[in-house]
């Protein structure tokens, strides 16, 4: 718990990073299930964990999205721990019951948790076994969403990485293709498809797909663009399968979206004129939409607590397109390579922190008196009660914010708390 402020050199930017250890106030990777299960409509997520894991999912899903959700928890109990019941046999029984109830499941993820990992329940083996023995037509895969291995959005990374080995190999004479990686809202995917078509880039595919049964092919003729900044492991295994990552900032805001698209266009040799033609209207719309929020946000000082790994791209967007001043940008994990282009764009003098000691960070935050704090749900109301305006970071993950036509909505997420305070006379 020492105050380990290690000065590290981020590539392309001469900036120190404060690395901290202490209490992390960040969800674990199980949380990703909340959006992943809605994205892949034939997939079911079975957490093998404790009552805590079940409670986390239920609480993070907020209002209990009812009907029968496409996720559940196999709660380990005393008998499993005492060896009175064979945990593997128990798991088989639970899975059999589940598949019987839910014939609509095409892909079942066994999701590891802290308890399953600490008792060394081998879910990789269990998944292999169940893949053979479970009903025909049901694939069984596994990944870890445990809090000892993953933070919040890293659960999506682990899930997508588990899908990569299942992706079919591209045909030997397949044309070059583009893969967009990271869960996006369907409306955003459709917009991106249209822009890539206008650029003459294609075929374009998405990971995760809308149906797990429709995994896109991958191979040496696949280029991929990350749509989210937290996909370190997924990128690594895609590269292992021969795909090439196109480095780019992330498609947040007008500038971010243009740079993201341009990285693909450059890699595909799209002529500049065609690029301008395909993107000018969208970029203009985005700039105008974002511009409407500039007056409210310019000059305002913003402080980010670590949460989703989206903090650095968000800070870049707020600084460059809205004139905000990021004072500290905390991230649970800083992937220097994937964020190289982002770090280049971030204003010099922006303090970066990685990891967390939440109490010390709160001290810094109070001392800095920011105009807006971006933080998790556990901290938001207490900071508001201290008179500090906040924006819940989880909304940045649950709301469609990528691409030109969402840039205005993204800006609005930050304006709203300030607007609200300005209106209230109570």
């Amino acid at each position: 718990m020492s105050a380990a402020a290690t000065a590290l050199r981020a590539p392309g930017a001469e900036r120190p990073v404060l690395r901290e250890r202490g209490q992390r106030e960040v969800f674990c990777g199980l949380t990703g299930i909340v959006w992943l299960h809605r994205k892949m409509r034939d997939a079911f997520f079975l957490v093998v964990g404790s009552r805590t894991c079940a409670h986390l999912l239920q609480s993070a899903a907020g209002v209990m999205i009812f009907a029968e959700p496409r996720f559940a928890t196999a709660i380990i109990d005393e008998r499993d721990l005492a060896g009175m019941a064979d945990a593997n046999a128990e798991l088989d029984r639970v899975v059999a019951r589940l598949l019987e109830r839910r014939p609509d499941i095409g892909l079942l993820f066994l999701v590891g948790s802290c308890p399953s990992e600490v008792i060394k329940l081998d879910l990789a083996r269990a998944a292999k076994r169940l893949d053979r023995t479970a009903s025909p037509g049901v694939r069984v895969l596994h990944y870890s969403g445990s809090g000892i291995e993953t933070t919040f959005t890293q659960g999506e990374d682990a899930c997508l990485a588990a899908l990569v080995p299942e992706m079919p190999a591209e045909a030997p004479e397949a044309p070059r293709s583009l893969l967009v990686v990271g869960a996006l809202a369907e409306v955003v995917e459709d917009q991106m498809r249209r822009v890539f078509a206008a650029l003459g880039i294609g075929p374009v595919r998405f990971l995760p797909p809308r149906l797990a049964a429709e995994l896109p092919p991958v191979g040496p003729r696949t280029d991929f663009l990350l749509a989210q900044p937290f996909l370190a492991e997924t990128a690594r295994v895609l590269e292992e399968r021969g795909a090439t990552r196109i480095g780019a900032p992330f498609p947040l805001g007008a500038e971010g979206t243009t740079l993201w698209l341009r990285a693909a266009a450059d890699a595909w040799g799209v002529p500049p004129a065609r690029f301008r033609e395909a993107t000018a209207a969208g970029e203009k719309r985005a700039r105008e939409a974002v511009g409407r929020h500039r007056a409210a946000l310019a000059g305002q000082r913003v402080f980010f607590f670590p949460d989703s790994q989206l903090e650095i791209p968000m800070a870049r967007f707020l600084a460059r397109e809205l004139g905000m001043e990021p004072i500290e940008v905390g991230t649970p994990y800083l992937h220097r390579q994937h964020l190289a282009e982002e770090l280049e764009l971030l204003p010099a003098g922006t303090a970066l922190s990685e990891g967390q000691h939440v109490e010390r960070q709160l001290d810094r935050c109070r001392a800095a008196k920011p105009d807006l704090v971006v933080c998790g749900l556990g901290l938001a109301n207490p900071l508001e009660a201290e008179g500090i305006a906040t924006k819940w970071s989880i909304e940045l993950v649950f709301t469609p914010v990528q691409g030109y036509d969402q840039a205005g909505d993204l800006a609005a997420l930050f304006t709203r708390p300030l607007d609200r305070r300005a209106r209230l006379r109570v």
Binding site: C28, T52, A60, A74, I76, G378, N381, P382
Partner: protein, 505 residues
């Protein structure tokens, strides 16, 4: 291993947090991985607390395992003490830390902090939230109240006094119940010595022994501590939970007896008795209700439903396994078999089978009831942001009874209004879309038909249309089910009325 989709209770350490967060001067150091910090949002978002719960998590990671998780615990506890300077440190493990067996109690004591350390061991693979709250409260009471002898405290002279035990953070209407119960005790002339856990500090707990008796509001949380106090300080405890007019009256009598005073006439009567007798309430008669919740609220609600609103209790159950015996007994009194279940699918199944007119349940049953098109009112935790209304909205005492009347009756069709709608249903300007104004547009949604296996003869269809639209969906469903069960292929006017007779119990 148990398959869980939604759970009624969190893990036991969340119960401990509810106690710690309710108290002053207690800080809880929890050995747990980072994801467990989600529990903070229960307090800050659901209860809209302006303070973080007084909890520090060690947030150990995989790389700490096998190495230094014990050291990490000690460093975290020291850090937390230095920063928060609590009067007492509560220490324990979450489910994951329980597996690595670091002994937070021993580690924290080894630090030699100048404040008491209270270890709570909460078997996470066995027990649940309410049990965790009860155990934590009990350990705190033992640790602090026990530090004084049973007899060295002169009881407050003159006025009889009591402690109020049970209200916690994140409790279902605990905040408002407490106000009602305090007012009741005040009217009786009974002084309140300590309220705990809500608002109490460890120093307050040392004074528990000074009261003459204990008022136990929520046995799920305070029962164990109250039994210990009874044994050690010869402090009797109340058994009645004052939810409903009758229970409130019984409670007042019980308190008066324990305090050795005469119960004064009830000066603050509820409107429930008159509202229930007023003619508009006639339509409530015999409405079939299904009741489910924690044991205390479910048992109390069933009594109110039957005795004070004239409903018929057709099902009663709880997820509080620790109180299964009490609930079974209450259910017998209603002539039904208790449902003891923590799987909401079992509860849903029973609701689907019973097809009650009203469900009194938790947020979980609210969803189930909505899915089945049955009116519902929420009577118990697990809590939702809606269960912390801005207005005063108790369940206990006279005002609590008023709240019960309003919230249970509101989802049902208003009596006179029901008749008027029936009378005017053919007026063109009235139209079929007209729903009682308090129900908004919600009742319009047609209920799904049972299946295509049965058809409707034209005249039966015609007859069905004469049934008021707001019960037509149910009539259609019941008739189709009736036909299906009897293998009737085509529903005739006869079938329609046979079904009506069948379901009109």
């Amino acid at each position: 291993m148990q398959l869980a989709l939604w759970t009624y209770e969190g893990p036991p350490h969340v119960g401990a947090m509810r106690v710690a967060a309710a108290m002053e001067g207690v800080h809880y150091v929890l050995h747990a991985p980072q994801g467990d910090t989600y529990a903070d949002l229960l307090f800050t978002m659901i209860e809209r607390s302006g303070k973080r719960p007084p909890v520090t998590y060690t947030t150990f990671q995989a790389r700490d395992l096998g190495g230094d998780t014990a050291e990490l615990f000690k460093a975290t506890a020291l850090d937390a003490w230095e920063r928060f300077r609590p009067q007492a440190l509560l220490v324990g493990s979450s489910c994951t830390a329980e597996l690595i067996q670091d002994d937070p109690g021993g580690l924290a004591r080894a630090l030699g902090l100048p404040v008491p350390v209270v270890p709570v061991e909460l078997p996470a693979y066995q027990k649940k939230e309410n049990w965790g709250a009860a155990e934590t409260f009990y350990q705190l009471v033992r640790a602090f109240a026990g530090s004084r002898g049973a007899d060295d405290a002169p009881r407050t002279g003159g006025k009889p006094s009591c402690n109020i035990l049970g209200p916690t953070a994140l409790g279902f209407r605990h905040r408002d119940d407490l106000i009602e119960v305090r007012a009741m005790l005040d009217r009786l002339g009974v002084a309140v010595n300590v309220v705990a856990p809500l608002g109490a500090s460890p120093a307050d707990l040392t004074r528990l022994g000074e009261a003459d008796f204990n008022v136990v509001l929520y046995p799920e949380v305070a029962g164990q501590a109250a039994r210990w106090l009874e044994r050690n300080f010869r402090q009797p405890a109340t058994r009645t939970v004052p939810i409903g007019v009758g229970a409130t009256r019984d409670f007042m009598a019980e308190v008066a007896a324990l305090a050795g005073i005469d119960a004064p006439p009830d000066e603050d009567p509820s409107r429930l008795p008159w509202y229930s007798r007023s003619v508009d309430s006639t339509y409530l008669t015999g409405k079939r209700v299904f009741v489910f919740g924690d044991a205390t609220h479910a048992v109390a609600a069933a009594r109110v439903a039957r005795d004070e609103l004239g409903f018929a209790v057709v099902g009663l159950g709880t997820y509080s396994r620790e109180f299964a015996r009490e609930v079974r007994e209450a259910a017998r009194g209603h002539g039904v078999e208790a449902l003891i279940a923590d799987d909401y699918l079992d509860v849903e199944q029973q609701i689907a089978e019973l097809r009650p007119d009203l469900v009194l349940g938790t947020q979980m049953e609210r969803h189930v009831a909505k899915k089945h098109g049955i009116p519902c009112a929420v009577i118990s935790a697990p809590v939702h942001v809606q269960d912390f209304p801005a207005r005063h909205s108790p369940q206990m005492g006279a005002e609590g009874a008023n709240v019960l009347f309003d919230t249970w009756v509101h989802p049902l069709m208003m009596g006179l209004e029901e008749h008027l709608l029936g009378m005017f249903r053919d007026d063109p300007e009235f139209g079929e879309g007209a729903a009682p104004s308090h129900l908004g547009a919600a009742v319009e949604a047609p209920l799904p038909a049972v299946g295509d296996a049965v058809g409707w003869a034209a005249d039966a269809e015609q007859e069905l249309r004469k049934i008021p639209f707001f019960v037509r969906g149910k009539a259609r469903r019941n008739t189709e089910r009736f036909a299906l069960e009897r293998g009737v292929g085509t529903i005739t006017v006869e079938t329609l009325y046979d079904a009506k007779a069948h379901y009109a119990r």
